[in-house]
Structures are given as C-alpha cells and as structure tokens.
C-alpha cells in the first residue's frame, strides 16, 4: 500500500534554481521499517536533486526487487519509475538509456539484488560504462525476505540469529573498479554530509557512477556483532577525503585551502572538491584506491568517500557512436528506408 502524501507546499518553503521546493522532489510515504538506512538514502537523493536543480521529469528511476528496490517510490514522485525484477535492473536501465540518452538514470539496488542474483548484470553494465548512477543500498542481508546473509555480508559478521558468516564478502567497489567503472564511491546512509555531494557528483558524471552505500537494516542486521550495523560502521568508517560538489556554471564561493584540497573537474564542468585526502591517495588511479581499500579492509576498517573518478569517460553511446538525438525521438522518416530501397534489395535477391 502506498500513501500519497498531501500535495501541499508550504508557501515559504525554499526553492531551487528551477523554482521548485524540496517537496517536489519527494515521493510517496515510505513503508520501510522506522530507522531503515534506505530511507536516509532516499532523502539524500531528494536533497541532491533538489539542491542541484535537476528537472524531476528528466530523471528515470529504476530498481530490482527488495526493500532497497522499493525506495524509488519514495523519492522523485514526478519522475517515471520502474521496479523491474530481482537482480535485473542493469539490463533494463541499459535498454532505457539506449532509447533515450537525454535522461538521467538512477538505478537503485540492494546487495542481494546486485551481488547475488544480479552479479552478472552488474558486472556487465559496469563493463559497458553505461551512463547512470548505480546505488547499492548495502545492508549485508536480504531485508525483504527476512534477513538471510547476502554475498556482501562480511566474514565473521554475526547475524541476528547469532551465527558468524563464513564466506568472504564480495566488495562491489573493488569489483566495479576492476571491471573498469569510471566513478566509484562508498558511503554510509548515516553520513548525509558525504553522501549528498557524492550523489550530486555521480549524477554529473557522464558514464557509469557507482556508489556502494552501507545502509543498516534495523530489523535484521543491526545487532551487536553485525559489521553492517549503525554502531559498527560509525566506529570503523574512514573517509578518503571530505567532499564538496559545485555544479556546472555555479560560482565557487567557498575558499579552499590549496594545500589540502584537490579539485576535480567533471566532463560537464562541475567541480568536486576533495579536502584533507588520506595519505598517498590518488583519486585518478584505480590501483591506489584498490590498494587503500584492501588495506583498510585488512584492518577491519571501512574506507568511504570518492574512491576513483575518470573525468573523461567514454560511455556506451560514445563507444557505439549513437546519434546524439535520442533514439526514441526519431521519426519514421529517419528510421524507415522506404520502398524504393526495398525494391533494390529485392532486385539483389533474384
């Protein structure tokens, strides 16, 4: 059941460059458990889109199946959404993107959805560098089917029923980087300050942008011993750097300290500012990122923040050289070669 929120906008509510209030970026009332990390991520998406003045109808939201995959109903109520089948959001998004390259695609998935049943599709959408933001709301368990371990459940993490997980987890950031992802980040649903600019930057990235957001499941995996609980993540999180995002054409007003801040200019002209990066971390080198991640992992720490970005990515449309006009807008005249051509084809077949 979905409760549509009352469609009332406070007259004094602040508006963005498009004259829209934050409310216009919200969706239906969430039906997730109170305190679920996923709701915070929905909120971060709402904030990012609102603050970045994204036109809601220019966004398409897609997901698989799971608590996480339900969330597109809970943000951007004015965008078209598609809740596909379990683990197959990547392929549907691929088709959608091929049909209309002018929209912004947000794919939301869960760790079960992406690392188990959907691992193949995940790997291949990365490989194709599809222009989209792909968010995994990673709670290390299957929320909707009541808490089974997933393929991202950490080694030794204790489940609600008290058992330690004995399989080593799949690290989706690491994997995506190895498969050639051009924007990779990890964050925490409880860390809005980091997550919001990451989402903004990812949406400006013209290629595959992946964010693995650790998002505790309060009902099935927030117990002591769980390595995806709020407490554990808060205690073990370290950021690669602090991050700020300045959209294209917006003047940079804050003063940054040259020594400790790095500027990353994206393809569309927007700028990411990274403050106080950890030692030796090079945002443009996937190998240092992978190394740093492994190092942290060995220390049972979670490295968050922007891990890698390629500022000049070649997305799938570039690779296959598609028309810049969306394919779904081509007319019969542009698509159909006509009868004359057909008759000459006939001729060649006699």
């Amino acid at each position: 059941m979905t409760y549509q929120k009352p469609n009332f906008r406070h007259p004094l509510a602040p508006t963005n460059n498009l004259g829209l209030s934050r409310r216009e970026y919200e969706g239906a009332l969430s039906t997730l458990c109170a305190g679920c990390g996923h709701d915070s991520i929905s909120n971060a998406i709402i904030t990012a889109c609102f603050e970045n003045s994204i036109e809601p109808h220019k966004v398409a939201k897609l997901s698989g199946i799971g608590c996480s995959s339900k969330t597109p109903t809970y943000f951007l109520g004015n965008s078209h959404g598609f809740n596909t089948v379990h683990g197959r959001m990547p392929s549907v998004t691929t088709g959608a993107n091929m049909a209309n390259r002018d929209l912004t695609y947000i794919g939301v998935s869960g760790d079960g959805d992406s690392a188990s049943i959907g691992l193949g599709q995940f790997a291949h959408v990365v490989r194709r560098n599809l222009n989209m933001l792909y968010i995994v709301e990673n709670n290390g368990c299957y929320g909707l089917t009541k808490g089974q371990n997933s393929a991202t459940t950490d080694l030794g993490s204790i489940s609600k029923s008290g058992n330690a997980n004995k399989f080593s987890p799949i690290d989706l950031c690491n994997l995506s980087m190895q498969l050639g992802a051009t924007f990779v980040a990890r964050s925490f649903s409880g860390d809005k300050d980091q997550l919001v600019p990451l989402i903004k930057a990812a949406m400006s990235h013209r290629g595959f942008a992946f964010i693995d957001v650790i998002s505790p499941c309060v009902t099935f995996n927030n117990n002591p011993g769980s390595k995806k609980s709020y407490d554990f993540v808060r205690e073990h999180q370290e950021a690669t750097s602090n991050i700020d995002f300045v959209p294209m054409q917006q003047e940079i007003t804050t003063q940054y300290d040259a020594g400790t801040t790095q500027e990353v200019t994206l393809h569309d002209g927007s700028v990411i500012h990274l403050h106080k990066p950890i030692d030796g971390f090079d945002i443009h080198n996937p190998r240092t990122a992978m190394r740093a991640m492994k190092d942290h992992q060995e220390r049972d720490e979670i490295l968050t923040g922007l891990l890698y970005v390629d500022t000049d990515p070649v997305d799938l449309h570039d690779v296959i050289n598609t028309n810049s006009k969306p394919l779904n807008s081509l007319t019969k005249e542009e698509l159909c070669p006509g009868n004359k051509t057909l008759q000459s084809i006939n001729e060649s077949l006699r």
Partner: protein, 625 residues
C-alpha cells in the same frame, strides 16, 4: 548415355532404368563442414532459380564448426512445391565419412556424383543407380598449388559438371559469379575457370544432359530468394526498431546479423555518420530481454531474437512485460528441443512455451510466418502490434524458415504507412486531459478495450509520470494488494487479449472446392508448403480437405468459424505434443476429438508424403471403426 554410368571398379549391370524427370527432382550435396561447399552449392541453387524454376534448398548441418558431415538438399519443382521431399534423385557425394548413408538414400534409378580420384568402396556400389565419377582431386591437384584453393575450387568444379549434366545455361552461372564477386573482380575469372573445368569434363566424358534435367521456364516471376532470418532483420529495420538486446544462439543469430548489416547501411545519420540504432550484445538472454524491456518502456521500438533455451531463460522477464504491459518484440527461431536437443535441426516446438511463458496467468501474442516475405512483414508489423497492444509479441519462426533460402514474394513497403505507436499521451494531450479535469491513470481502461494509455519518461514536467512494476497496482499505477483491484486488472488483461484478436493477422483459407468440404486441415509456419502440397496429393486420391493457415495467436473469429464448419480438422505440426492443437482446443473450447493430430518432429522439415500418409491412415482407421 554411353560415356556415363560405369563405375571404374565394378562391372555389375544396372537393374533399373534411370529416373527421368524434367524440372521435378531433388539434388543433394554431401559435404564436410568448413570446406567452403556452402557458397558453391548456393550457386547451383540460384542458377536453377535463374533458369526460371521454383526451388527450395535446405541445409542439414551439424552443431559443429569443422570436419563433420553436412548436406544441402535442393528440390526443383516446376509445379511450385516448395516443401522438402524425401528421396534423392541426384546425390553429389563429396564426403567419404557419410558415403554409405548417402549412397543408400538415392532413389532407385537415381544418380550419384563422386570424386573418382580414389576408387569407390565396392560395398557401396548399388546396381540400381548410376555412378558418375569426376576426378575432382586430380583436377585440383593439377590446377591449383594452394591447399585451400584445391579444397574450395573442388566445389565449384562439381557445380560446373552439374550444369553440364543438368543442362543449366552456363551464362547463368557466369552471371552469378559476376554478381557474387562484385567488388572483388579478381575472383571472377578463377571461379569461371573452375566452373568450366567441371562443365567441360562432364561434357567430354558423359552424355549430357541426363534424363533428369532442367529446362528453362518462366515460373518464378518477380520472386526473390532469401532466408527468413535476413527477412526478419530487414523487417525490423523497416519496422523502426532502434534498440536491440541479444545473445548469440543458433539458429537466431543471423536475425541480428541481418539487422545490423542493413542498419549499418540504411540507418546512418546523414549529417554525423552516427548510427540511428543501438544493438547491445548482452551477457545472456535474460539481459537481452531486459534491454528490450527497458528500451520499449522508454519509447523506443525494441526487439531481440533467440531460440528455445533463450525463451526459457526469458520467462521471468516476459511475465513482467505481460503484466507491466511493455511492448517488446521477440523473434523466436525455433530449433529441436527439449533442452539443447538438436540445435541445428528444425521444429515448431516452442509454441506453448512461448504462448504461456512465465508463471502465473500469462498469455502472449504470437505470429506464425511461413515465408521470408512474412518474416519481413510480421517482424515489422510486430512493432505496431506490440505498441498497439502494449504486450510482448513473438514472431515464431524456425530453423528451416530462418536459415534456409526460400523462394518468396518480393518485399513491399507502403511509404504512406505510419507507425502505429498505440495509445501514448503526449505532453499536449496530458495538459488537455487535466484541463478537462481528468486524471491520468496508466491502467485506466478508458476505451473499454483493455488497452490503457501510457506516457514516456520525460514527456511532461509535472504530469503523466507513473511507476511501472511487476506487482499488482490500481488503475493509477499505485501498488495495491487489494483482491478486487487485482482481479479487475487481470480481467482487463483478458479483455485486451480479446481485443488483440481484431488486430492480429487473419488466417489464410484454401477451400478444396467451391463449397466447404466436411474435412479441413489447419497448419502454420513452415508446415504450410508441405501441407498445401499434401492437400493436392489427397485431392488426387479423392479426399477433399479445406486448408486454413493460422497466422497468429490469439486465434481470431475466422479460425473458430473454420473449425465449426468442419467435422474433422487435422492439425499439422512439427512437434511431439501437438502444441498448437492444444491451444486451439483450450482457447476455442473445441472438442479434442474434432482435431486429429498430424505430427512430424524428427528435426527435418516435414514433407507432403508424411502428412498424406498420416491423414490417410487416420481416415482408414476411422472408417474401419
């Protein structure tokens, strides 16, 4: 005939006379795959076609790349029968591996061409057929140095010899060579030379032509010769497909290859050289259909092509497309199942799997092409149908139709034809709707035909957005677990399926006489040619059958009427379980007793003889009772 006949190593006299036949015979080529025989054999077939004669060539090839037996059968029929016919009149036996079987399959009085460089195994000598020895290896050894050339030209040489033996106009062959090597003119002369080698050898050594031979006719009119998969691929280009997701699988791969071939030429943006389509070779069939669903949801005409195993894998997604009402197009080029089955043999055995693909109560629209022309038309039409009906439409081709050349009506396109995009609301229409105080409901059955209005993502800044899902929802696309809403929606989908009956192509009826007979026969797809030939054969025996070629599922009123009007309706199919018949029974509530089965499912294209025999047997049984 003095110079022909005698096999060098046997003195046995032939017992039966040679078959004689003008323009009615079957030639079969036995080769080894990977030796380049295919293009030579094609050249032979096309030459006969250019002699003005109806032909139907069939490839019989293994699921293997190189080194195993492969055959090419060409039926020539001036009566215009295009089905496969059992029994070989002339065997071109180029494969020692399969020689024993090849010799055995020649009809008494028939001919066998072989490479006489080596002597033939005595045990394989029949005295009721004529052996024609061509010293192919010798000739090639003499003429060519390169091993590959020796292999390739051997094939061309026997085509040349056949031309002499069957009286094919040599200029037709030279014409073909010139056409084939347009752009690679250097290759023309050597090929013609090879043809001449064979032609002259035969003329010199045998009394040409044989009693079986070709006479020029004018029986093919403006017909074309093409395989169904190329036609489907071209149909998709004309039908406006832009998003393609696919995964290689025999025998469907060439649908996509053809689409790409034609699109590369015909779908280039003139200004930029960019392409006006996107084909994604997916990681598997699940992703392929996912891509198609995504593209179709987003307003692009999208399709995939696959075969049985792919259809099985796509089941979950096809259910989503049915329930979420996404207009996807799928070309299923069927092969012999179950499981991997015989991947290079033909069958019509995905019919029920496709029609009811997915768990829960689902039904899909199917089209049954019989010719390359219909592959073209139905693939193009499938996009209109899918968008009109907002549901998956599957074009049920098969290996026989898809991978063999068929003589076909030429393609046609009405330049005035607009694409039927179905019920899609534009931004203006959305504004109008709300100006009239109406609320857009994605699943509101406004027109009471079961088909609702959709919108494309990005169409309007603040109207018409909705959430698509595979779960139950109300008319406004809001998730619901309410039983009554669920049922209302499911009933609407049935209503839509009823509506579909008006849109899908009607069956084609062939009355045996002026008035309807008491007995009929229903057939579809590649069973058509054989069944229509069988109708003629049966008529000669005094048995009149009205024919109905079913072209789509759901079955429309005409199919129902046909069955009603006939006491007995045979149903001809190339599968074990009489799949279409079971759909006729269930969907039209017909008594099974009224629909006897006529089945052939050994992987070879069905023949008229097989159908006749089967029907005759059933009729005698009935009379015996």
């Amino acid at each position: 005939m003095s110079k022909v006949i005698k096999v060098n190593n046997t003195s046995s006299e032939r017992n039966s006379a040679s078959i004689s036949g003008i323009n009615e015979f079957v030639v079969k080529f036995a080769n080894i795959n990977g030796t380049g025989s295919a293009s030579a054999n094609n050249m032979f077939a096309k030459a006969v076609f250019r002699m003005g004669l109806p032909i139907s060539p069939k490839n019989i090839f293994p699921s293997n790349i190189q080194g195993l037996p492969t055959w090419y059968e060409v039926r020539v029929s001036e009566k215009g029968y295009l089905a496969r016919r059992d029994g070989i009149d002339i065997m071109v036996a180029m494969n020692p591996q399969s020689l024993a079987g090849d010799v055995a399959s020649v009809l008494p009085g028939g001919y066998l061409l072989y490479d006489s460089t080596k002597t033939i195994d005595l045990r394989l000598v029949r005295n009721d057929i004529t052996y024609i020895g061509l010293p192919l290896t010798d000739i090639c050894r003499r003429e060519y140095k390169d091993a590959r050339q020796r292999q390739l030209f051997k094939n061309i040489i026997y085509v040349g010899a056949l031309a002499a033996l069957l009286d094919i106009d040599f200029t037709v062959l030279t014409g073909l060579v010139s056409d084939q090597f347009k752009g690679k003119e250097k290759l023309i002369a050597p090929n013609i030379h090879a043809l001449e080698l064979g032609y002259q050898y035969a003329n010199k050594n045998f009394s040409c032509p044989l009693s079986i031979r070709i006479e020029k006719r004018d029986l093919v009119g403006d017909k074309i010769l093409i395989d169904g998969n190329s036609a489907s691929g071209l149909g998709a280009v004309y039908g406006g497909a832009t998003v393609v997701g696919w995964y290689p699988i025999t025998p469907s791969t060439s649908v996509i290859e053809a689409f790409e071939k034609y699109a590369k030429r015909l779908r280039i943006d003139p200004g930029t050289g960019a392409i006006n389509y996107a084909t994604v070779q997916a990681e598997d069939e699940i992703a392929a259909i996912g891509i198609v669903i995504g593209g179709a949801w987003n307003g692009a005409r999208s399709f995939t092509a696959t075969s049985g195993p792919g259809v099985s894998l796509m089941g979950e997604f096809l259910g989503l497309a049915y329930f979420a009402e996404i207009p996807v197009v799928l070309v299923d080029v069927q092969r012999a199942g179950p499981s991997t089955g015989m991947p290079t043999r033909t069958q019509q055995s995905d019919i029920t799997a496709a029609a009811y693909s997915s768990h829960g109560d689902t039904k899909h629209v199917l089209l049954f092409p019989s010719t390359p022309k219909e592959c073209f038309d139905m693939t193009a039409d499938a996009f209109d149908l899918a968008e009109r009906l907002q549901t998956p439409v599957m074009v049920m081709s098969d290996l026989d139709l898809g991978m063999n050349d068929h003589m076909s009506e030429p393609f046609e396109w009405d330049d005035d034809r607009a694409y039927d995009r179905g019920k899609v609301l534009s931004a203006e229409q959305l504004d109008e709707l709300s100006a009239n105080g109406k609320k857009f409901g994605r699943y509101l059955d406004v027109d009471n035909d079961g088909i609702c209005y959709r919108t494309f993502p990005g169409a309007h800044p603040d109207k018409g957005s909705f959430f698509t899902r595979g779960s139950s929802r109300d008319p406004y696309a809001v998730y619901t677990e309410d039983g009554a809403e669920y049922v209302a929606n499911m009933e609407r989908l049935i209503r839509k399926f009823e509506t579909a009956k008006e849109y899908v192509p009607k069956p084609e009826q062939k009355l045996a006489g002026k008035r309807a007979s008491k007995r009929g026969v229903i057939y579809y797809g590649t069973s058509a040619a054989a069944t229509e030939e069988a109708i003629d054969l049966l008529k000669e025996k005094g048995i009149n059958l009205d024919g109905l070629r079913v072209r789509a599922f759901p079955f429309n009123k005409d199919v129902e009427d046909f069955i009603e009007k006939h006491d007995t309706v045979f149903v001809v199919e190339q599968n074990r379980d009489a799949q279409l018949r079971s759909m006729l029974i269930n969907e039209l509530e017909v008594s099974p007793k009224q629909l006897p089965k006529v089945l052939n499912y050994d992987g070879s294209p069905i023949t008229a003889a097989c159908i006749c025999e089967n029907i005759l047997e059933q009729l005698t049984e009935k009379e015996a009772c």
